[in-house]
Amino acid sequence: MAQTETKTAEAAAAFQPRIVAFVCNWCTYAGADLAGTSRLRYPPNVRIIKLPCTGRIDPLFILKAFEGGADAVLVSGCHPGDCHYTSGNYHARRRWALFRRLLDLTGIDERRLFFSWVSAAEGQKFADLVADITEKVRAAGPLEPANPARRRL
């Protein structure tokens, strides 16, 4: 019994979550750059895919990421009012408000799908965010293969 518990704990520690981040070019990508130039530290579990604007991010991107093995997805862009394209992030915000409900209903809850505003000045926020998400996903464990979103061959 005790042995099993130890094994589970070891497995959890060994589990390296795979996190895909879809970010806009103007704010969050630049915020991540600032985290770098400030030499902040965050876990190496995130892979950033750059888009011009959160407005470009199709829900299909998220489904594809989960299907292919991501344990969590982060979508991040400019704060409201700061969008380089004036309103792309407002459009995105609406889209996510609805899409997250759908994914939550089908079993991908708020421990796996994250949304944030990170400006070009918020390097610290980006680093903290990635650290926090990694922690949360590690606690939640891998998105199991039986999840309907997963590819099962």
Binding site: G36, T37, A65, G69, Y85, S87, H91
Partner: protein, 658 residues
């Protein structure tokens, strides 16, 4: 078949310290499609760039990935290098191994693994890149300035001074705007006319400026560099080519009691009139609503008086089409109508006036010749109350915002009054004094200390008129903590600044956004304050937000600089990151058209050879598209794609991370 080159930069120690660059290059070499892989100490240095150029030429690369710093840093550098070697610059992508990897991680193995992932993603993306070419749009180097107030005049003069043609359109019969109506200006008390009229004359006589007064914008087509604007030249009923501006006509006009707009209804004008003696152009128009000949068919006194035969009652509006490359909107402001304040008499008391009326009373060219005489009986008021924030900072009845200029002009009014009526009392009710500007705080202090203007901090709750004609002003002195009642002879309300009427329609014509109050929206509140969401349309003056003269002039010059910058080249070169519609599959649900922040997606009718409409689809106007991709994600059937960030590219990036 793809032939991709991968170039891994050590960035000195910056990347190499945490990422095993050689291992990354070795892993990249095994990636499908990669025919060349190398690492080097400083890829951005001249020898580094030379490595890239050489590999492109020797290995006949079809694409390249540079694993180095952030693309925000050196993407232009490496893309230029690729172009020099004959590779389309858009076939080179960067993997961010420094800011997003080596600088933020410590574990060498994990960082190296991540770096390999980042390179792999970019290799897969770049295989799907297409050669792109900057979009070139020819520019018509003529600017349209809408609004002939000080902002419009300044913008026009600056653009004309830069050697480009300007068409200056003004709705009224003369340029000059509100500034021509002012008596003196804060904080220096310069005579407004004295500093403005030379500018007006200069604008009218400048060889590069075409003045179109008594005209309005009717329709707009096209986009940045290529606007076709239709301007309605309203019928003036006076042939200005014959008119000498002698004044015989208005001397004879029998319709003499029309309230003068210029004098804020305190004076009268005739039906054939020039708005003020210093008007530019200094020639009259006939106001068709009040002309006896045009309304009743009988009169013609002005035509008889005119020795040049310039009066033409058969004149018609004329639509003129002009081609311009850029537009400056400088439509200015109005004062909010304080009749919404029932507690201040709902606009029914003749001696409760607005700021412009006071300006005209104080102006030497005004209806009283510069003497402060109240409208009801022409008496000199002994006590004048000034109330600030009338309609400003009042969400309930008026406007939520601060109108910015009122603190200053109210202090000026108090001063001017005291200068003219030495023993009179000027009492200002205020909420706060906002005097942030060069010499502004000093000006307020001067009003209080040198001129004895009395300031009471508090709101006025009620104004009523006693039968003896006194205006009883009741308010609070919140510093003394007591109620105050003043028996005043005249009250001046500092009404909120609101955008000029009809501004929303004009904004819609140009695709410019506006806020709930009707002020035009700038493209970015901090970094693009004179641009709008509509490329090639710029803002100057109070149409964007309440502004005083120095701010309006500064913004006008900024807008002119933007226009001259745009006109500095014969062609507009734009990033080819634009959206494209697959017209074969588009069903025209119009979601993209409604969503586009730039109005760049348009209805497009597909017609057969005989001209019959086959169907309507969405089409992206490349001149307007800024490449955000919002339409792409909104299209349900995937009929729109974004160059540089195509579905195929993004799909392969995500798929590569499996």
């Amino acid at each position: 078949m793809a032939r991709i080159g991968v170039f891994i930069c050590h960035c000195g120690e910056n990347i190499a310290r945490t990422v095993d660059c050689a291992a990354v290059a070795a892993a990249a070499a095994k990636m499908p499609g990669v025919v060349h892989s190398a690492d080097y100490k400083y890829m951005c240095s001249d020898p580094g760039q030379q490595m890239i150029r050489q590999a492109i030429a020797e290995k006949k690369l079809t694409g390249a990935v540079v694993g180095a710093c952030s693309p925000r840093m050196h993407e232009p550098t490496f893309r230029r290098a690729a172009a020099e070697a004959g590779l389309n610059p858009y076939l080179l992508e960067m993997a961010n191994l420094r800011e997003h990897c080596s600088w933020v991680h410590e574990d060498r193995a994990a960082a190296t693994a991540k770096a390999i992932d980042l390179v792999r993603v970019m290799v897969e993306k770049v295989k799907r890149n297409r050669s792109l070419y900057p979009i070139r749009v020819p520019i018509e180097p003529t600017a349209l300035v809408v609004g002939g107030g000080i902002a419009g005049i300044q913008a026009a003069l600056d653009i004309a001074g830069g050697g480009k043609k300007v068409i200056l359109v003004e709705r009224g019969p003369s340029i000059g705007g509100h500034m021509a109506r002012l008596s003196e200006t804060f904080p220096t008390l310069d005579c407004s006319q004295c500093i403005l009229t030379p500018r007006m004359v200069e604008a009218a006589s400048h060889p590069n400026i075409t003045l179109m007064t008594y005209s309005e914008v009717e329709a707009v087509e096209g986009f940045v560099g290529n606007f076709q604007v239709t301007i309605r030249r309203k019928a003036k009923y006076v042939d200005w080519s014959k008119c000498t501006g002698c004044g015989d006509c208005w001397a004879k006009c029998p319709a003499r009691k029309i309230p003068s707009e210029f004098d804020a209804r305190l004076g009268a004008r005739t039906a054939i009139y020039r708005p003020f003696p210093q008007a530019v152009p200094n020639k009259p128009v006939i106001d068709r609503e009040h002309c006896i000949m045009l309304t009743k068919g009988k009169c013609g006194a002005c035509a008889k008086a005119c020795q040049r035969g310039a009066v033409n009652f058969k004149d018609q509006d004329e639509l003129v089409k002009v081609k311009v490359g850029a537009v400056v909107l400088a439509t200015g402001f109005d004062l909010w109508d304080h009749s919404a304040y029932g507690e201040y008499g709902a606009g029914k008391f003749a001696d409760v006036i607005d700021g412009f009326q006071f300006e005209r009373l104080a102006s030497a060219s005004g209806p009283t010749g510069g003497e402060i005489r109240r409208p009801s009986d022409g008496q000199v008021p002994r006590t004048v109350v000034f109330i600030q924030c009338c309609g400003s900072r009042d969400e309930k009845v008026g406007k939520a915002y601060c109108s910015k200029i009122c603190c200053m002009y109210t202090a000026k009014h108090g001063m001017l009054y005291k200068h003219k009526v030495h023993d009179g009392r000027a009492i200002v009710f205020y909420m706060d004094i906002r005097a942030a500007g060069k010499g502004y705080e000093e000006f307020i202090r001067r009003a209080v200390e040198a001129d004895g203007v009395e300031y009471v901090r508090g709101r006025v709750s009620r104004i009523y008129r006693r039968t003896d004609g006194k205006l009883i002003v009741r308010g609070a002195d919140t510093l003394a903590g007591r109620a105050v009642t003043v028996e005043a002879d005249m009250v001046v309300l500092a009404d909120a600044v609101v955008p000029r009427s009809g501004g929303e329609k004009l904004a819609q014509l140009f695709g410019v956004g506006y806020d709930t109050d009707g002020f035009y929206s700038e493209a970015h509140p901090k970094l693009r304050p004179v641009e709008t969401a509509a490329a090639g349309v710029f803002l100057a003056g109070a149409c964007q937000s309440p502004k005083d003269i120095p701010d309006s002039v500064a913004q006008a010059s900024a807008a002119a600089a933007k226009v001259l910058g745009l006109f500095a080249r014969p062609e507009l070169e734009r990033e080819p990151v634009v959206a494209r519609v697959n017209e074969n599959t588009c069903v025209h649900c119009r979601a993209c058209i409604q969503a586009c922040p730039y109005g760049a997606v348009e209805d497009h009718e597909i017609r057969d050879r005989k001209g019959h409409l086959v169907r309507t689809v969405a089409r992206v106007n490349e001149g307007l598209c800024q490449g955000c991709g919002t339409c792409v994600a909104i299209c349900r059937s995937g009929c729109i794609d974004l160059e540089g960030f195509t579905d195929e590219q993004v799909f392969s990036e995500i798929a590569t991370l499996e």
